[in-house]
Symmetry: C2
Subunit: 223 residues, 2 copies
């Protein structure tokens, strides 16, 4: 990187941080828990959201913002669950930024409980951009391999929750969930770790309960 | 993106293109086929290279450049196959650039046949950066889903070869290899498509033969 590149990047991150702080304050004041889901393409973010929608949409009100480079495919899958979804297509950009979320927010109902944001599928770039979320979740699917946390550190260092997905495939893979979790925890001991198969439903009730409890604690903390 | 960001990006891509053209010319003049492997984290790039090393290292001489954000893990796996490997750790950057490859090249023996470059695991950013390769291969693993080509278009539009990996997992997944291939081909009809399981060895001989044939044709074309 040249000196000019570094200055541009610093400006970009500084502006993003300010916008994210405003979004966080606004959502908190409304009692909305915003969850930013971050992972490689195909780690199962949308399938996880479909499973969470089934479990949380009653008694809670949820909404989803979908980030993708192209297509409305993910938003359509979420809408098919009866959950309102907004698709942001970045048209090439490799991550969501707070200002993109800020543009969508005025259209999102103010009385929801959860706002899930599915970031662009990318384990690298989205980690650098705060979207104003209250919880950041990084997904790591069994087929990706248990060596990923140290190879892609920033996502694991900045997350609050690690969700090991596609656990139904573990018997067919050279993947050790304990090793993956231990490596991530050695980098970031405050991570909450969950193992799920969204496709088979394993571990999904526990994850939904975790989000519901977290929301309740957040609201109690503000009370 | 602001106007300033766009100018910086254009400068960066322009400079990269010039360096890549020099690398391409140099490698071609030496009769070396350079292959750039591009995919999400955990699509199986390193396992594919291990399988290709077993099949190509005799009678060919091969070398590997590994791109990662952190760790020497991938280079160590390749060296364990008796193949020389150079690890580039980008320290945060989400893709390799031609100048990074250019810095490593003087140390790579001039009499090799194949130079494989494993890019940083990222289906987005590496697609924009020519490394001077003679062949660009995009990997899509079965667990990632057959909806990815149109969601992450640039990698599929700029590749010469599509390698559908982890085919041994297809029976356990909602993944249709024909659908994935058809979608990618609808975007880029010149793609050569292969289906492999590097772990089980399926399709790997055919892929190795393809690379050997391509090298022979390249050399004959220059003769």
């Amino acid at each position: 990187m040249t000196k000019k590149d570094v200055i541009v990047l610093k400006d970009l991150l500084g502006t993003n941080k300010q916008i994210a702080a405003k979004i966080r304050q606004e959502l908190r004041s409304r009692g909305i828990l915003c969850v930013n889901l971050l992972s490689s393409p195909g780690s199962g973010k949308t399938t996880l959201l479909e499973g969470l929608a089934d479990r949380l949409k009653s008694p809670y009100r949820i909404a989803v913002i979908e980030g993708d480079i192209e297509t409305e495919r993910d938003a359509e899958r979420i809408r098919a669950k009866g959950v309102p979804a907004w698709q942001i297509t970045t048209g090439g950009a490799c991550h969501l930024e707070a200002k993109m979320v800020g543009k969508v927010l005025p259209g999102v109902p103010g009385d929801i409980d959860f706002l899930f944001i599915e970031n662009v599928g990318n384990l690298v770039c989205p980690a650098g951009f705060d979207l104003g979320e209250g919880l950041r979740c990084v997904l790591l699917s069994a087929p990706e391999g248990d060596d990923k946390p140290k190879k892609y550190p920033q996502a694991f260092l900045t997350a609050d929750v690690l969700i090991l997905t596609k656990s139904d495939l573990v018997p067919f893979l050279p993947f050790d969930p304990d090793k993956a979790a231990a490596e991530a925890l050695s980098m970031n001991p405050r991570l909450r770790v969950f193992r799920v198969s969204a496709l088979k439903g394993e571990g999904m009730d526990e994850l939904a309960v975790f989000f519901a409890d977290f929301l309740a604690k957040e609201r109690a903390g503000r009370a």
